[in-house]
């Protein structure tokens, strides 16, 4: 700006000096000098300075020039207030500084001054309108939408499930392909849809009856079947011997190591219940061959390590029942 001021002073000094000469000639010189001035300013100014600032500076320089020229000729002064009044009449009150700057630029350009001025002002007005609209709006700010979006990263399990889902050729009863609706919904849920700012794009749908239905019966038959299907599809063939052995152990073909001799045998009874079985002989007669026979049976059972207490008791009860059925026969003897 200092360079501009210095140039103004020089120009004014030069204009002062040349006042007694022809006014037109002076104006032409002034126009040329002003153009040069504009170019110099644009060349010297840094890129950071906005257009408005440039215009303001121009306007400042023009005002000073006009202030100097006021004393000499009132021609240029007349055009200014007319332009301002016209603009204010049109509608929204534009920034008066902007208006002045626009008029200064128009005056500096060689073409028709008033036309360029009006065009510049119209552009300014449009600019103002768009900025106002943006300020009032702001409902759907695209920045909010984009901020929430992140690069989607699939976990290897999800990728495997997706690939296996594509490859699967199993058909339902109706002959339709397997539907992967639930798996896709689960993969979206893992990124937590409900976190972050609300965008207010969609209206909230009523979700109450769905919740009520879900809590009634949790593991339906279809859920179990679907779980089985998923397990069957995702079960890849074993890559090596270890995985094969793991699979066999799960299925029950292979025992678990170290070998547990009492797998499947959950006998909570103490040894005395195995050995001392005389208390079960209360239903039998105390004397006679039957008693003799039953004592032998009990002796044999007490030495048997392979039967559980329950089985032994059942054995004795069977005999009791059998002898009760044959009571009539026995009494004949």
């Amino acid at each position: 700006t200092s360079s501009v001021l210095s140039k103004d002073k020089d120009k004014s000094a030069a204009s002062k000096d040349s006042t007694p000469e022809g006014a037109a000639k002076r104006q032409e010189d002034g126009a040329e000098k002003r153009k040069q001035q504009l170019l110099d300013i644009i060349g010297n100014m840094k890129v950071e300075v906005s257009y408005r600032k440039k215009l303001q500076q121009l306007k400042a320089s023009e005002n000073k020039k006009q202030a100097m020229n006021k004393l000499e000729g009132p021609d240029s002064e007349g055009s200014m207030p007319h332009g301002i009044t016209e603009d204010t009449q049109r509608g929204k009150p534009l920034n008066p500084e902007l208006v002045k700057a626009a008029s200064a630029v128009a005056s500096s350009l060689p073409s028709n001054k008033k036309q360029t001025e009006s065009e510049l002002l119209a552009q300014l007005r449009r600019h103002e309108e768009t900025t106002d609209k943006q300020k009032k709006g702001g409902i759907i700010n695209i920045r909010n939408v984009i901020s929430e979006m992140t690069i989607k990263r699939q976990s290897p399990a999800q990728r495997a499930a997706r690939i296996s889902g594509r490859i699967s050729l199993q058909l339902d009863e109706d002959g339709q392909r397997i539907r992967r609706e639930r798996s896709s919904a689960q993969s979206v849920d893992s990124r937590s849809l409900k976190v972050g700012k609300r965008l207010n794009i969609f209206t909230k749908a009523s979700t109450e009856p769905e919740h009520a239905l879900k809590t009634v019966s949790s593991p339906t038959i279809w859920d179990l079947e679907f779980a089985k299907e998923v397990a069957a599809v995702t079960a890849q063939p074993p890559r090596n011997g270890f995985e094969e052995m793991i699979q066999w152990t799960k299925e029950g073909i292979l025992w678990e190591f170290p070998i547990d001799n009492e797998v499947g045998m959950e006998d909570d009874a103490e040894f005395h219940e195995h050995v001392f079985l005389e208390k079960h002989l209360e239903g039998f007669p105390k004397e006679g061959p039957i008693r003799h026979f039953m004592e032998l049976v009990i002796c044999g059972l007490s030495k048997n390590p392979y039967l559980s207490v329950k089985q032994k008791v059942e054995h004795i009860e069977w005999f009791q029942k059998y002898f009760e059925e044959k009571k009539e026969l026995l009494q004949e003897i």
Binding site: A232, P237, Q247
Partner: protein
């Protein structure tokens, strides 16, 4: 009777595993004789306890003989396939009734076939 036999045959057909693992699955019995053998084994398992108890009554020196005769009649009344004597240890793969080694449940021909292809663990050609 034919329907019952068909039912038995259907029950004999085992379900194919849903997983895509490449493993041999036996879905049919080799022949009808093998099927009958399977039936006999199942029956024998069902009536094993009863047969044991009734035989204990029979093979007795203490109980009166009348009781033992009644027990004889009872055991004879049981279904014929329930006795374990009727079970024949057939070859598991070919259903051959003779020449079956108990340890491997295979007939001598199948055993030799697998042993020569080194598919029997710990089995070697004898040489001394």
């Amino acid at each position: 009777m034919a329907a019952a036999a068909l039912c038995w045959a259907l029950r004999a057909v085992r379900q194919v595993l849903p997983s895509p693992c490449p493993r041999q699955v036996r879905s049919y019995y080799v022949d009808w004789r093998m099927l009958r053998d399977v039936k006999r084994r199942r029956m024998a398992y069902e009536y094993a306890d009863e047969r044991l108890r009734i035989n204990a009554l029979r093979k007795n020196a203490i109980l009166p003989k009348e009781l033992q005769e009644v027990a004889d009649k009872e055991i004879a009344a049981l279904p014929r396939d329930s006795c374990p004597v009727r079970i024949r240890n057939r070859c598991v793969l070919t259903s051959r009734p003779r020449g079956v080694k108990r340890r491997w449940r295979l007939s001598r021909i199948v055993f030799r076939h697998f042993a020569d292809h080194a598919q029997m663990s710990g089995v070697q050609r004898a040489m001394w």
